[in-house]
Structure formats: C-alpha cells, structure tokens
C-alpha cells in the first residue's frame, strides 16, 4: 500500500468544529430569546435570511465591482490562465473565472456562491511583485478557498450576527412608535443588551473561523503545489509590502478583506485584542505551518 504524505490536520479540524459549534449554539440561544420575548420570530428570521441570501447570491458581482475587477479571457492573460489550468488539473477541480483588478496593492481574493460561479481575482500589484512559483502558491490558496466553499461557509456562519443586528434595529423602530409603557421599555433594553452581546460574541467567533479557514487554504495550497516555501515567500513579500502602502488604497480593500490573501489592515504588534478581531492569522503562524508542511513533504 502506497503511503500518503497528504494527511489531514486534525487540530485545525477540531478548532473549526469548535468554532462552528459556538456559532450554532449562539444562534439557538438568540432564537430562543427571540421566541421567549414574544417576537414575531418567523418574520425576523425571514428578513435576516433574505438579506444573507442576497449577499451570498451576489457575492461575486458585489466583490468584483467593489474591487473594480474585470474578468479576463485566456487570450487576455495566457500565462495566468495556464497557471490556473495546471493547478485545477492537479486538484481535479472545475476552473473558475479569472479576474484582474487594476490596483497596485498586491492581493488576491476568491468569491462566488458555488465553485462553478466562482471568480479568482488578482491585482496588478500582485502580478508585478511575485515570481511564477509565488504566484502559483497564491492562486492555489485562492483555489483552495473555492474548493472549501468558504464563501458559503462564512455566509452561513455570519447569519447569527446579521440576525442580532436586525433584531436590535427592529426593536428600536417598534419602540419609537409605542407609548412610554414601562414594561415595553424594559423589554427594549433587554433585547438591545442581548443583541449587542450576541453580536460581539458572534463577531469574535466569525473572525476565529476566518483565521482557521485561512490556515486551511494555506495548507491546501502548500500540499497542492508541493512548494510550501514559495507560498511562504509570497506571504512575506505581500505582508511586508502591505504595511508601507498608503492607507487610502488599504481602505479600498476593506469590502473583500475576509477572503483576500493578505489582510488589508495596518496592524500594530503584540496587541492581543487585534489578534482576536483579525480576519487572518498572524504571518508567523502561517509561516510556521508552511515550514511544518515543508518538513513533512521532505521526509523519506
């Protein structure tokens, strides 16, 4: 029996299950509070679900226009297409559309509700700065996001946050119309507090999930290309560069930050709250994982 070098990272899977469980639990708690307080739960759930569905359904269009990215054909960008062709053939996955955003910030992102509707977008800044192997690593990372259906997973996971936000707002509106009944006032305060709490917790959990998905995509890319160190080089180049770019460009990146290759945020060091709220794991953590995979691949 041939041995396999492409094992699964159990620790990462366990952490992801834990986070997902937390998000699910939070959702159950929120829904019970909603029903216990006598809200028209079906109505609120329906509206939240509709909002979320629209966001998910139009994810490719929204992100593409936010980034001013255009889809390129094989004739426009033969090298880029050829690279993606080969990665897809190695991974046995459907080839997504490819887009280029005319932006000097080196970054890449993947979006789209299903693998066949997906787009992988790279910026011109990325194409300028990376060599072939590094670009391949970044593309494989984005294609891993597509294969893992990260747009859908993150959309479903964010449902609780959307629900909490919507609940707070609808209570505010409905309380404005009513009289100064004391019971009603208490109810409004309770709902507001619960909503804010739920929102904060789900926000932190979402960010944790996002970081695990990034590590998962890094791992997928490293195993697929067999070159973890090329991906590590790309990460270092991009993250090193990112800090020196003017903030105006960085703000442009914000809308799609959560599935981008490197986070478009200028961050300080060693501040723990930032680590809790970050969408991407710290560079050291990502490099450490890649170094470990490199060792595993090289074992005889």
């Amino acid at each position: 029996m041939a041995k396999t070098r492409y094992g699964i990272d159990r620790g990462l899977s366990v952490r992801m299950v834990g986070t997902l469980f937390g998000i699910g639990l939070l959702y159950v708690v929120l829904a019970s509070v909603l029903i216990a307080l006598g809200f028209n739960a079906v109505f609120i759930l329906g509206i939240s679900a509709a909002l979320l569905f629209a966001q998910w359904w139009f994810s490719d269009t929204l992100a593409m226009s936010a980034m001013r990215a255009v889809v390129v054909t094989p004739a426009d960008a033969p090298q880029l297409h050829a690279l993606v062709d080969r990665i897809c053939a190695m991974a046995d996955m459907e080839k997504p559309r490819i887009g280029i955003a005319d932006n000097d910030v080196p970054n890449a992102f993947a979006t789209g509700r299903t693998p066949s509707r997906s787009v992988v977008v790279v910026t011109t800044g990325l194409l300028k700065r990376l060599d072939r192997d590094e670009l391949e690593g970044v593309l494989a990372h984005e294609l891993s996001h597509v294969a893992h259906r990260d747009v859908t997973v993150m959309a479903v996971a964010s449902f609780t946050a959307i629900l909490a936000g919507f609940m707070a707002r609808s209570v505010m509106w409905s309380s404005m119309g009513r009289g100064r009944d004391q019971n009603a006032a208490i109810l409004v305060v309770v709902v507001m507090v619960v909503s804010v709490l739920v929102y904060v917790i789900s926000f932190v959990l979402m960010r944790a999930l996002s970081r695990y998905r990034e590590l998962g995509a890094d791992r997928g890319a490293a195993l697929l290309t067999g070159r973890p160190s090329a991906l590590a080089r790309a990460l270092q180049k991009i993250s090193g560069d990112m800090a020196t770019i003017p903030t105006r460009d960085l703000r442009q990146m914000e809308p799609v930050s959560s599935l981008a290759f490197a986070p478009a945020l200028v961050r300080g060091r060693g501040f723990s709250l930032e680590a809790v709220f970050a969408t991407h794991p710290p560079l050291e953590r990502r490099l450490e994982q890649l170094a470990r995979i490199s060792t595993e691949l090289g074992e005889r």
Partner: protein, 189 residues
C-alpha cells in the same frame, strides 16, 4: 469533496488513475489508419516536483530504473511553469514501449506517496503536412484529450474534435472541453 471536507476547510489530495493509459496503443493504430497520424516516437509524463530531499531521491531512482533496462532512453526537462517532464523517445516509434515506461514512472511516484503530484502524460503523433497531434492523459480525471498545436499559441480545434470523435469508442475522453488545457512547447511534443 464531501460535505464534511467543505465544512472543515480541507481537501483530500486526489490520487492518479493509472490504468486507462494502457488503451493508448490501440488508439494509436486507429489514428494511423483513419487520419494518417503516425506516432512520433515521443512520449512524456509531467509532474510537479515538490521541494525536499524525499522527492529528489524518488526522481533519481526513477531515472536510474528507466535507464537501467534495455528500454528507450529517457530525458528530463523542466517547462516554463515549473513542471518536470520525463521524455521517452523511441526509434522506430514504439507506443507500447513508451506506455510501459510512463507507467513505470507513475507507479514509482505513487508508491513513494507522490501520486497527487502527477499532472498529465502525452504521446505525440505526426500527420501529413507536418501537423502535430498529442493525446494528453489527465491523471486525476482518468481521461484523454487531443491537443493539436499549430503555432506558438494557437491550436487546431477542428482536428482536435475530429480526433475526439474518432477515438470515442476506444479511450475515455474528457467530456468537459474547458479541461482541455493547452500544453504548447511541452517537452516530448
């Protein structure tokens, strides 16, 4: 990818399907009889060499193995995308011998645990007025597709479809045309 793998953000590496390669010699005869496409005597296998000593060892073992027997000589080339190609050349053209050698490469890589690194194999054919057609084998799909380069970045789609229709009964052919990626300038073409 299963549902659980999606939820957990992981994917299992896709192993290669090796068996369909042995259908090539018969297809070669059909190509020669019907379209006057003669085997060029060249065949090659492409894989992505991962970093590290382990793969370098396997690679040199494979080359020693192929050079040791009385079979055709083997050459190594790296293409513009970082893929390594082992080119088998036979004179006169001997498709079964090429297939045997390609299979030896495949099994060596799979046994060493590097099966997922295999990209494709190809065996090339020459037709009248110097046109080239190659039958490309996609390991992960277990399917073939024809590739007919006519220049540096152009291909003869009509001829490719003609070959597909001709070989439909003999080889498992790739149904999704979007997966027929071009391999212009591939070693052994």
């Amino acid at each position: 990818m299963g549902f659980l793998d999606s939820v957990l953000g992981r994917r299992k590496a896709v192993g290669p399907n090796l068996d369909a390669l042995f259908a090539l010699p018969n297809a070669a005869i059909t190509l020669q009889v019907s379209l006057d496409l003669v085997p060029s005597g060249l065949g090659s296998v492409a894989f992505r060499a991962p970093e590290g000593r382990a793969f370098a060892d396997v690679e040199s073992q494979v080359r020693d193995l192929l050079d040791a027997d009385a079979g055709p000589p083997v050459q190594l080339a790296v293409d513009g995308f970082g893929f390594t190609w082992l080119v088998v050349s036979t004179t006169p053209a001997d498709v079964p011998a090429i297939v045997t050698d390609l299979h030896a490469v495949n099994t060596s890589l799979v046994e060493a645990g590097f099966g997922p690194q295999l990209l494709c194999s190809q065996v090339s054919f020459r037709g009248p007025d110097d046109r080239t057609v190659s039958l490309v084998y996609l390991y992960k799909r277990g399917t073939f597709y024809p590739f007919a380069p006519t220049g540096e970045d152009s291909r003869d789609n009509v001829l490719e479809l003609q070959v597909r229709d001709l070989l439909a009964g003999e080889l498992p052919l790739e149904p999704e045309l979007s997966r027929w990626f071009a391999i212009w300038g591939a070693p052994g073409l």
